[in-house]
Amino acid sequence: MASPLKSMTEPNADPAKPKPETQTLTGAQIIWDTLVNEGVKVVFGYPGGAIMPAYDALPQYPAVRHVLVRHEQGAAHMADGYARASGQVGVCMATSGPGATNLVTGIANAMMDSIPMVCITGQVSSAMIGSDAFQEVDFTGVTLPITKHNILVTRVEDIMPAIRQAFYIASSGRPGPVVVDITKDAQQNSCEHRYDSSPIRLPGYRPEHHPVPREIERAAEMIRAAKRPIIFCGHGVIEANATALLLDFVQKTGIPVAQTLLGLGGFPATHDLSLGMMGMHGEAWVNTAIQEADLIIALGMRFDDRVTGNLKTYAQNAKKIHVELDPAEINKNVKVDLPLVGDVREILRLLVPQLEKRNCDEWNAHIAELKGDSAVREIQSLPDNGCLFAAHVIHDLWRYTQGRALVVTDVGQHQMWEAQYYKHDYARKLLTSGGAGTMGFALPAAMGARMACPEDDVWVVAGDGGFQMTASELATCAQEDIKVNVAIINNGYLGMVRQWQQFFYGGRYVATPIKSPDYVKLADAHGLKGIRVTKRSEVQAAVEAARAAKETCIIDFRVEQEDSVYPMVPAGADLDKMIRRPVPVAASGELPSEELPGEPLKDVSKAHNPIFETGKDH
């Protein structure tokens, strides 16, 4: 078989230089030696037949810690969480066949959110490929559409170049997952090896793009001319480490900032000019401001359908500047007036000095008016009405963690409530599955994040549905002594689907009521700590007890069962056509005189939560 990999990374032969010393290693040893040289500290994985040679060599490389997961999906999410929290490449490992296919969900998840990840999988011996051998799956074929790149390695000499390329491709440009599928015989065979640190040459791979000065000037002109500009802070701001520059940009211009789900933390949520999350569950004032804006400066985001709603009516009044590293994202969903293809940080560094100090006082005052009474207020002093709302739990969690926790959410209602009520001021402190919406992400991703940031107060916020998908990783927490805190927002339903059934499917709750195990006993069964909370007055003590515990702690928050996430832009609807929060009817039974955005609700105890609504506490 041809060896194209080798030729690409071969250092320039210099006859004058003495040949560097090499040693004879097996492919299995080369895998670990290369990983160590790439700076890998931890690998999340699960052994099996085709990867056994690699595992056998693992003890020779004590620099790498291996975390034995309970299901390979957990390994992929842990590597993903590690990467999101640290900005470094996360690594997971699995055997061929089912071991590898169990990674698939985690790989697709990392691909959708542009997470740098390297997955090393075993493959059946090269002579058996194509013979439907035991545990053979064409894994490079399977992962073709869900990886940034993948490589099948059949020769021991190709292992080091392939892994080096994988790290380079995964972490450069727009990051993404790379699979290296290594046959068992390649792991078993030996060759002369020396880690090669020369630059990688891949003639077809150009991860970098740079804007031309004329385009930057034009962006500055558009910003100068705008009366109602708005900045979008996307995941790219965080990936490019451009948060400080974004803050400069905003301080200098007074332009308000709306965040995407993955952009939360890229701009401090408690800043006066932070509007909060945009899109399907964005607050009304954010989406209305977008529809009224005359200029959108979109930084490192891709106009996902959850962000835009109906494209035909989306931000019709706004010219659009799209700062994006991936040229394939330009004009994909939303036609833009000025694409700036390149790294967000580089572009802001060039752009901000060209702008004069200005303010957007009139525009910001208008947005403040839109906010009106519905802006979040302090809830500390609100009377306890006996109900435990998810919003309370998350608001209190924010308060009692001083807003500094590293929160990892699962997917569903709790994820949106977290995005609305936990005010993230710091980048890489909210990890969530955005593009793929992968239930079961939170617990393993949080474990990976904790490995990357052992000093952080790591919190899993998960629903009772998603948590049960990967709850087996609790055993990994116990075995590997990984401490995370788990807040289960337990409403007895697959809440987001239930909410859609309520809104759009005639209230028929088909296959959404879900029974949970007793989470306190489940924690206990793992030798971990479990707490049940049914009242708002118990939240603080539980959060503090969890933080104080040495071991992983699960808090089972029994929240209102049929609570919904508001506001909501139904899928495909105009961005400013939102289903608003229900409005409680006054004690007299009369509706407040002013026009109300939401449906009147007679039973106040069923109100979504008493934080928002009309501004009247009850």
Partner: protein, 187 residues
């Protein structure tokens, strides 16, 4: 998607590394993004390790640019060029087996001559015609020959090349990718 002009046939030339699975990567991309391939041709070039693809896609201007940008994201794709708007040569090759006996043979030979085709095989009841040219020319010959009875036919995919000096899509060069995507109609 913002409205753009109606889709037309667009011709792309791509240089790719001659490696197992590269064709699969390219076609997988087209399938996944729902780009409609009309024709695809791959072959080696005079440079070792480099293959050249020509593909014809139904796409509007906007989609064409994204096809280009998405192809550039494939690690094994060296360069891509949309040559639709450039002076170009576009050719396909067809072999057409016509069932024709002695009585009509000269008639068919005349037709083949008009189309500048070649008869490459002949026996008592059939004739195989080779025709190189644009798709429209091949289609017309097929229409004309149909009444005589076409037993079978086969076509290569379309191949294309720009006229004059070497096209933009030079092999191995690390030029700035999709220039088209970056150039904005300056207001």
């Amino acid at each position: 998607m913002a409205q753009s002009e109606s889709p037309t046939l667009r011709h792309f030339v791509a240089y790719v590394e001659d490696q197992p699975g590269v064709l699969n990567r390219v076609t997988s991309l087209f399938r996944r993004r729902c780009y409609n391939i009309v024709s695809l041709n791959v072959g080696r070039t005079h440079e070792a390790g480099i293959s050249r693809m020509t593909f014809v896609v139904e796409a509007d201007e906007d989609t064409a640019r994204r096809i280009e940008a998405n192809l550039y994201k494939l690690v094994n794709v060296l360069s891509v060029e949309d040559i639709t708007e450039k002076p170009n040569l576009i050719r396909g090759l067809a072999l057409i087996k016509v069932t024709v006996g002695q009585e009509k043979r000269s008639e068919v030979l005349q037709l083949v001559e008009v189309f500048r085709g070649q008869v490459i095989d002949l026996d008592t009841d059939t004739m195989i015609i080779e025709l190189a040219g644009q798709q429209s020319k091949i289609d017309t010959l097929v229409t004309v020959l149909a009444p005589y009875g076409i037993a079978e036919m086969v076509q290569t995919g379309t191949v294309a090349m720009t006229r004059g000096v070497k096209g933009e899509a030079a092999t191995g060069a690390s030029q700035q990718p999709p220039a088209s995507i970056r150039s904005v109609s300056a207001a």
